[in-house]
């Protein structure tokens, strides 16, 4: 009968904290917390150069030509911009204001009635053609891209307020998709002109 009294002893759990600490430190070291952020773009699909190309006719009026030289000088249409024109003062930099005006002003680019949410709204057909020299620094190139994106985002806000009465980032997924479709991020990234080959 003495046998019945023999209970299995409790497992000593004082080392549990140490084990948990070890696991914790392991996870702290091997994992990262940072989220990936970036500027999304869609490249044009590859066209075989040997195939016959049917170039899309784009009205000259609807194209804003942005050209970045290797020294960081920027030509917008026929105007010269410097790196100072990429810096924002208030809501806009000079480049983003110019791009925004190009999209939003009725006399700058053609507007086309586009159906959004069952109604027709006038949306700009404007597109930005971005050219950069092969020697241009990526930092400058991305700054230019940033300002152009800013202009497009503001224009999307305008259309969004017209259609849904609120800004683009406050829309739900279906609504923002409709706006994205109506106002595409029309930034054409042409291949850089290689001066050395000419």
């Amino acid at each position: 009968m003495a046998r019945a009294k023999k209970k299995a002893g409790d497992i000593n759990s004082s080392s549990m904290a140490d084990i948990a600490f070890l696991l914790l430190i392991f996870f702290l070291v091997t994992t990262t917390m940072d989220v990936d952020t970036g500027m999304k773009r869609t490249l044009p699909p590859w066209i075989d150069p040997t195939e016959q190309q049917n170039d899309v006719d784009v009205n000259e009026r609807n194209v804003l030509k942005v050209n970045v030289s290797k020294s960081g000088m920027i030509m917008v249409g026929t105007d010269e911009y410097t790196s100072a024109d990429l810096r924002r003062t208030g809501e806009h930099s000079r480049l983003s204001r110019e791009t925004y005006m190009f999209l939003a002003m009725p006399d700058r680019s053609n507007k086309k009635a586009t159906e959004i949410n069952g109604m027709n709204y006038d949306v700009s057909e404007g597109l930005v053609s971005l050219m950069a020299d092969a020697e241009t620094k990526y930092k400058v190139y991305l700054q230019v891209q940033d300002e152009l994106t800013h202009a497009f985002n503001l224009y999307r806000d305008d259309i969004s307020v017209q259609v849904y009465g609120k800004k683009y980032d406050e829309l739900d997924e279906i609504q923002s998709q409709a706006i994205r479709k109506a106002v595409p991020m029309s930034i054409s990234e042409a291949e850089p002109n290689d001066q050395t080959k000419k």
Partner: protein
Amino acid sequence: MAKKGKREVPAMSTSSLPDIVFMLLFFFMAATTMREVDPLVTVQMPEAHEITELDKKNLVNIWMGKPLNAAAGEDALKIQLNDQTRDVEDIREFISATTVTKGVGPRDIVVNLRVDQGATVGKLTAVKQELRKADAISIAYAAKATNN
């Protein structure tokens, strides 16, 4: 006097310590993600305002920057795919291998271009042309938020 000597502060109970640590552990497990590959090139990310958070799902990284073991004065940029430094020509093969392992089409993956801010547009274009050939046309220019 004997009584006074006996009055001691009782030891703090540490029995809840494992619970606290486990709670911390679970928090970190949920809030962080595994570091998949070690960078072999140094990339100084450019700064931008108009950036969005990129969904980790279907995100593929391509690094372009100076190799970590570069000799002084040498400033040729290298491309890193997964955990190897490779050439531009290897991108197509890399994309097709990635689509197989992820089980999605090339247009469903988002290629995150982590390019050093000192790189040239010419190099970037070479990468973009290869991506177009691989039909991986959805890309993102990795950038961090700017303070001004």
